[in-house]
């Protein structure tokens, strides 16, 4: 075994020495033999002849000895590689185009694969991640999907559920950090003691909550995120045990989480469960032992399954809990519970655009491969004489195919290496300009798997496009080919057919991709054109969170907001100002079940619902929302006057169809709270995305809140319409706010245009990427087309010369070439149209305001493609037109 290896290695690396030894050994033998014959009386010459005769062909023997070393295949491969490199050097143009084409294809695939790998395939950093389920409430009858838990519901589950090892609940809260430095508003969560246990996460420093600390009186404990610890406390290693001020109360720091831990955040979570973008601290949730009925449903719930249990097996148990819950609380009828594996939840919507991208990029890669296959095929057709000659000299078909495959693999390797560089560069751009909603985006890099993937694609494309030419070029009848002389021959029938098929496939695939890109562009613009219900120009927005320690009841809150509004109006440059629970595209508003006393026929079990927001007089005109009917709020709408409300157009349409809602009454589900009189109807305002279908919404004057404690009033959002420059106004606004209360933080300061932009980041991102892929595909297809037509013109030069000599006009020649090209192009466009019909249906959910078979896009892209193909063929056709018949014929 060892001996074998030693000899093989020596054969590869000390080839010359081995050859010399072999030569010497054989010479020794022959000389002995000659000696023998000479002794037996032959002449020197005779003896030599006899020795050679008995020995056999020296070269043949040497060859057999080399064979016996067992390194033959390596040597053949090396020979092929050397030969390929030599032929590439002779043809730098072909080599450059083919390598670049592949590099683009492979680079784009590598980049997209890295995204998919990091976002979809990478496990979550929690030890228990595969056993954690996210639990949801649903209200199917009211059309409400996954929604958060009410404290009473969670309390019930925590007391009775036996299928979970542990349960944890959490909800978002804002904390005003004061003390050293300027006040800073932090987003964090209140979490129950089970929260960390469920995730199995231990802190980097200190500890997490105990069950005792989730009790009143012991709850002033805080766990910090790594980021907060680094940025605000400079990574102070002795932070544990120190006290910080949150919302005016002292909290003891008991731990710091590792950097990888940011749960919960908005990744993949439906917006109905309000969560921080990035959680910066965790404090105990402190659920009351007997939860209040009617408290807001705002809890996220996670559960740790028993080892071996699966989320799908949970369904039945959840049904049992649901029935028991409904027995206990009859109002829960019509609801259900649902469990989703946490890993799946956290990826959620980010998964879909990635799959779209992956589809697009696979098409680009296919086009690139087809393109290079076409180029290689052309080249090997041009080399038919050489191949035939080598065949005639004894090279077997497998050896010829091996040679062609080697060239392809070399090409693929060069393309692959360049592609990795190209992919690395594009990842950098994605990281810089990609949407911030993508989870783990900053962790993306080329890792081992990605490189393996690139290598796999590279080899696969090597085989793919090596195979077509190899099949085409080696199926040559040697006698025929040599007889024809190669120049004039049309070649075998297979090769051009493969080439044409490749061409049609390229055009068709480019067609599908460009149509997809076109649909996304149309989507983007119809989103911009859609009726958002507001005018973003010259509006700035910000949030004013009031610390709960200082401002506990809604009356006091309203007072502060009113003072700020008054001061804002006197800031120079301010046209008008208003406040609302959430400004347009500022997030999801609260929702509530409503009652409509004038419509007793409406079955209450259908759970009529509406979003429920506070607003100030002048808010609607500030953000440019049209008042469709009735009047706006006024300063006279107070707690002592008639309770009033303004509803949106879609609420009027749904609950007061065909009647005038003004003067009608509507109230929240709780019958103890008096109903409100509708005084106005405004246009629907979009809250989270321009593509949303607005839900019914009712607005209530912020001065008329009957409930003393209302969490969403704790942090109202302001909209300010400016006269001129929006950014210069920021200082004026801060001064106005601090004139009311020095400690109030101004949060989320942004122009409304920025909010609109931000809400469209993901759409813009997929549009740009798919668009870029579309352009790439178009480019590759036209390079391919150019190659095919140019080659065919070159091949037909003699024929064209004859035609011209016989009197064909230049225009006729031009038309002839274009006819040939357009046959291919139209076949491609036709196949592409059919394929696009099938493919675009799959992307229906990315579209808005445009159908998957939008005729304008389909027609436009067909024209575009026809135009591009025409351009690609124009130059070779012109060259054909300019053929000089004399020169062409002399070529013979």
């Amino acid at each position: 075994m060892l001996q074998d290896l030693r000899i093989r290695i020596r054969a590869l690396f000390q080839k010359n020495a081995m050859e010399t030894e072999l030569h010497e050994e054989l010479r020794f033998h022959v000389e002995h033999e000659v000696e023998k014959y000479r002794r037996s009386g032959m002449s020197e010459e005779q003896a030599r002849r006899q020795a050679r005769l008995v020995f056999g062909g020296q070269d043949q023997v040497k060859e057999d000895c080399r064979e016996a070393r067992g390194t033959r295949f390596v040597e053949t491969a090396l020979q092929d590689v050397r030969y390929s490199l030599r032929s590439m050097r002779k043809n730098p143009g072909f080599f450059a185009i083919a390598t670049l084409t592949l590099a683009f294809g492979i680079g784009a695939s590598t980049a997209v694969f890295s995204l998919v790998d990091t976002i979809l395939l990478k496990p979550m950093p929690y030890p228990n991640a595969n056993r954690v389920a996210m639990l949801w409430r649903r209200w199917p009858l009211a059309g409400i999907g996954d929604s958060p838990w009410a404290p009473a519901e969670y309390g019930f589950l925590a007391r009775t559920a036996t299928t979970f090892q542990n349960l944890g609940a959490f909800k978002k809260d804002s904390f005003n950090l004061t003390g050293s430095g300027s006040p800073e508003l932090l987003e964090g969560v209140r979490a129950s003691a089970g929260f960390f246990t469920v995730l199995g996460m231990s802190p980097a420093l200190g500890r997490t909550f105990t069950a005792e600390e989730d009790q009143p009186g012991h709850d002033h404990m805080v766990v910090l995120s790594n980021r907060l610890w680094q940025t605000r406390f400079g990574g102070d290693a002795s932070i544990v045990g120190k006290t910080i001020d949150l919302n005016g109360d002292p909290y003891t720091v008991i731990g710091v989480m590792p950097a990888s831990f940011t749960f919960p955040n908005q990744d993949g979570i439906p917006p109905i469960l309000d969560l921080p973008k990035e959680t910066e601290l965790w404090v105990p949730l402190l659920l009351p032992a007997v939860p209040l009925r009617g408290a807001a449903s705002d809890l996220g719930v996670i559960g740790l399954l028993e080892p071996g249990a699966t989320v799908s097996g949970l369904e039945q148990e959840l049904g049992v809990y649901e029935r028991r819950l409904e027995e206990l609380i009859p109002q829960e009828k019509g609801s259900s519970m649902r469990a989703v594996p946490l890993e799946r939840q956290a990826v959620g919507d980010a998964r879909r655009p990635l799959l779209l991208l992956q589809g697009a990029v696979s098409v680009v890669l296919l086009i690139a491969c087809a393109n290079v296959a076409g180029l290689t095929l052309n080249r090997s057709l041009g080399r038919r004489r050489e191949l035939t000659l080598r065949g005639a000299l004894g090279a077997g078909r497998s050896r010829l195919m091996g040679q062609l495959m080697t060239e392809s693999l070399l090409l693929a390797t060069a393309g692959g290496l360049m592609g990795i560089l190209f992919g690395e560069a594009s990842l950098y751009f994605v990281k810089r300009f990609g949407p911030d909603g993508i989870p783990h985006l900053h962790e993306i890099g080329l890792n081992v798997w990605v490189i393996l993937y690139a290598l796999g694609i590279t080899l696969l494309s090597g085989v793919l496009f090596g195979l077509a030419p190899a099949l085409g070029a080696t199926r040559v009848n040697m006698v025929e080919a040599l007889k024809e002389g190669g120049q004039r021959s049309g070649g075998s029938a297979t090769a051009p057919r493969i080439r044409n098929l490749l061409m049609v496939a390229q055009v068709a695939m480019a067609m599908v991709l460009v149509i997809a890109a076109g649909l996304l562009v149309r989507t983007f613009y119809s989103m911009l054109d859609s009726d958002s219900g507001f005018k973003a120009a010259r509006v700035v927005t910000f949030e004013l969170p009031l610390p709960a320690s200082k401002y506990a009841d809604t009356g006091r809150m309203a007072q502060v907001y009113r003072q700020v509004l008054l001061r804002l109006q006197s800031v120079p440059g301010v046209q008008s100002a208003g406040i609302a629970s959430v400004v347009p595209l500022g997030g999801a508003p609260d929702g509530t079940v409503i009652r409509l006393p004038e419509h007793p026929t409406m079955d209450q079990s259908e759970n009529p619902f509406a979003n429920y927001s506070f607003a100030s007089p002048g808010y609607f005109s500030t953000i440019g929302t049209t008042l469709l009917r009735g009047r706006d709020f006024s300063d006279a709408d107070t707690l002592s006057s008639v309770p009033v409300t303004i509803i949106t157009g879609s609420m009027a349409k749904r609950y007061f169809p065909g009647e005038d809602p003004i003067g009608k009454q509507v109230g929240v589900g709780n019958p103890k709270i008096p109903v409100r009189t509708i005084i106005g109807v405004v246009a629907d305002i979009k809250h989270e995305s321009l593509r949303e279908e607005p839900d019914p919404e009712m607005f209530v004057p912020y001065t008329q809140s009957e409930i003393r404690a209302w969490p969403s009033m704790q942090a109202m959002q302001f909209a300010v319409q400016t006269k001129g420059d929006q950014t210069a106004i920021a200082d004026g606004i801060r001064q106005a706010v601090h004139g009311v209360d020095q400690d109030l933080p101004v949060a989320k300061f942004a122009t409304l245009t920025t909010l609109v932009d931000r809400s469209m980041t993901a759409d813009r991102f997929s549009m740009l990427l798919v668009g870029a892929f579309g352009i790439l595909a178009l480019l590759l297809a036209s390079i391919g087309m150019y190659g095919v037509i140019a080659y065919s013109v070159m091949q037909r030069t003699a024929e064209i010369g004859v035609r011209m000599a016989l009197g064909a006009q230049r225009a006729q020649i031009f038309a002839m070439i274009l006819r040939q090209a357009s046959r291919l192009a139209f076949a491609g466009i036709g196949v592409g149209l059919i394929a696009a019909f099938g493919a675009t249906r799959l992307m229906a959910r990315f579209l808005y305001g445009v159908t998957p078979w939008d005729p304008i896009t389909f027609a436009g892209v067909s024209l575009l493609l026809a135009g591009v193909v025409f351009l690609a063929c124009y130059f070779p056709a012109r060259r054909a037109m300019k053929v000089d018949p004399m020169i062409a014929l002399r070529c013979e």
Partner: protein, 110 residues
Amino acid sequence: MTDRHIDLPQGTLDLLILRTLSHSPQHGWAISERVQQMSSDVLKIQQGSLYPALHRLERRGWIKADWGTSENNRRAKYYELTRSGEKQLEVETDSWRKLSAAVAQILESV
């Protein structure tokens, strides 16, 4: 003259080489001479085919090669049986005996 020679069955050459080397190390020409001599000129061995076989056996580790000096003072490559080569010789001799006995038996019974 050629008619007197019979062609060597596949694989037999290896056996003969091993057998030849079982006495003492030899160089290629000597092996060739010895094989011809032993087989009383009945077996026809193309001398050239000896060398690929030697190289193959060397790669398998049954023989090993060393450069030495020949009887007439020239540099020559000497082959020598290794321990595993000795074993191989036993195995092959044994199986050859069995085979030829079996073939002989069949031929006589018919």
